[in-house]
């Protein structure tokens, strides 16, 4: 319909998105959680009370202490400050999440773009391969891969990456399938643009909102997955502080030393919650923008 519409100002959608994000108290809460955790992790050496407790040795005079004034969250069986170890656990989790996503996302995006745009047998082959990875519960596949490898940080990231890219392939595949029918793609084809140009210059920009939203949510979920693996004893090995193995280790001393597993458990919850809130806020913001 040819309704007269106000000329859209260049900054208008952007400011609308920002207003939508900051207008939701939950998104702001999420952003606050994420900011605090990122700052703590980056400056862990300065911000934690006992950075030396990151290793195997702690304060032998204060082993297995409940929370008190010296050790706000208590100490573990080696007399190490739980707060310090949780912050270093965060640091490790964030590194894992960033590495996993910076590999899994590009791989999945390219597979999704190519399969969705090319169609035909390329589509069929790529998507069946993707389905193979999606045909096993993610945790089981990661576990199986870990089973054949040594439980190290590197292998843990590898195992999680291997099961993470298909989700991006699926997501971008669906978006691409829809976008490929749009006028602007047909226009580009008509003037003889190269496939690479159409994929990365025409279609990909339209996928960014979905990719960014999913990546934010996924930082939380990669952390969740990594902690699940290490909870099962298939992740990072002691004495490296890791939230999942801290919960598993502490569960042996339940219920008397409840703090050993409860604090790291809550720490996992908080970080996943934070990234989830930010991700949901981003989704709403992108919706408000369009």
């Amino acid at each position: 319909m040819a309704a007269p519409s106000a000329p859209a100002g260049g900054n208008k959608p952007r400011s609308k998105a920002l207003a939508a994000f900051f207008g939701n108290p939950l998104s702001v809460l999420g952003l606050a959680i994420v900011t605090v955790i990122v700052l703590l992790s980056v400056f862990a050496d300065w911000l934690t009370p006992y950075p030396e407790h990151v290793g195997p040795i702690g304060d032998f005079a204060a082993m297995n202490m409940p929370p008190d004034e010296t050790y706000r969250l208590g100490t573990d069986t080696m007399g190490r400050d739980l707060f310090t170890r949780i912050v270093y656990g965060y640091q490790l989790s964030l590194i894992m999440a960033v590495v996993v996503l910076s590999i899994a996302t590009p791989v999945g995006v390219v597979v999704g773009l190519v399969a969705g745009y090319k169609g035909g047998w390329i589509d069929y082959a790529l998507m069946r391969i993707t389905d193979i990875f999606l045909a096993v519960p993610p945790l089981v596949l990661a576990m199986a891969i870990m089973g054949f490898l040594q439980p190290t940080l590197m292998n843990g990231m590898l195992a999680i990456t291997a099961m993470w890219w298909p989700w991006y392939a699926r997501l971008i595949y669906n978006v691409t399938r829809a976008e490929a029918q749009e006028g602007y793609v047909l226009a580009a084809e008509t003037v003889g643009a190269s496939t690479a140009h159409i994929l990365f210059r025409e279609i990909l920009p339209n996928c960014w909102p979905s990719i960014l939203t999913k990546m934010t949510l996924d930082i939380g979920f990669v952390i969740l997955m990594a902690s699940s693996l290490s909870f099962l004893g298939l992740g990072v090995q002691p004495p490296t502080p890791d939230l999942g193995s801290m919960v598993a280790e502490g569960a042996k001393y339940m219920p008397d030393a409840w703090w050993l597993s409860v604090w790291p458990a809550i720490a996992i919850l908080i970080v996943v919650l934070g990234f989830n809130l930010v991700g949901d806020g981003l989704r709403e913001a992108f919706e408000a923008e369009s």
């Binding site: 069946r128 391969i129 389905d131 193979i132 990875f133 999606l134 045909a135 096993v136 519960p137 993610p138 945790l139 089981v140 596949l141 576990m143 199986a144 891969i145 870990m146 089973g147 054949f148 490898l149 939380g220 969740l224 902690s227 699940s228 909870f231 099962l232 004893g233 298939l234 999942g244 919960v247 598993a248 569960a251 339940m254 219920p255 409840w258 597993s261 409860v262 458990a265 809550i266 996992i268 919850l269 996943v272 919650l273 989830n276 809130l277």
Partner: protein, 340 residues
Amino acid sequence: MNWKFTLPRIGAALIALIGISMLIFAIARVMPGDPARIALGPNATEEQVATLRAERHLDAALPVQYWEFVKALSRGDLGRSLYTNRPVTTDIAQFLPATLELVLVSVIIMVVVGLPLGALSAHFRGRFPDHLGRLIALLGICTPAFVWGVILQLVFGYFYPIFPIEGRLLESTPVPPTVTGFYLIDTLLSGNLSAFGDALHHLILPATALALAGIGQTARLTRSNMIEVYAKPYVEMASAYGFRPWRIATRYAFRPAFIPTLTILGLECAAMLGNAFLVEKVFGWPGISRYGVEVIIRKDLDAIVGTVLIIAAAFLIMNILVDVLVSIINPRIRLSQRKS
């Protein structure tokens, strides 16, 4: 049932199953180290290792090995577990039912709690019940199953010891004769009501821990799908005719919103099969997951491949069941066959 809709899905599932068997098989064989040596341990003699290599065709090319594996599989032979020293199929038959029972009870809890929670949220959107419902859903999603397990154990097992924290039955309760492997069913079949109660008592905490993430996803999904449907003209029309709000909520908003929700529920069930590994570890549940972790730590190759395959198969069957259910509930799919 609409075969035109269902058959391609079964086909795709079979392809995926073959693919996963190749993938996991390849990973198992390509990994650094001699599988036979890993399997037998450092104390085995060179001779023993060589015998095992020959027995398992480990020196042959990978495709040949895979073909041998498929031939064995077609005879129902998944190899031997070095951990239990029994055929892998026997192990799976023993451990799988406990996991399936746990997962199925969790699915029931997830559906019974998650759907109404999401529907209530959508109905009261923007108001207090909605905020509360979304908070519960969010906590469910953001918390790993093992964290729920640990928390539930601490609260309802130690602080308020209402529920047992470990196992499937009390030691004093006789194990029911195996018919299905599901204690809830086997105890009933044997007519032992107190054993049934005991099995249920043991199931509640682990099943709840496993269900919580699914409840969150289900509620969240139901909510967003219902809100989408609430904006549809037919809901407006139903309100314009002055139908009762309850009727509008159930027949005009929930029912159409349930179809897309159901599709995703299949995925949630799959996630539960994975999360069962975590919950079984917390509650000492003697299921396939505990077996899986055990064989993975021991690098028990045949057992790992078998476990992953059986879980993939269970997962794909669940998804096909959901697809079939969708094709029955959704008239558009059900009728598309008659038309063509």
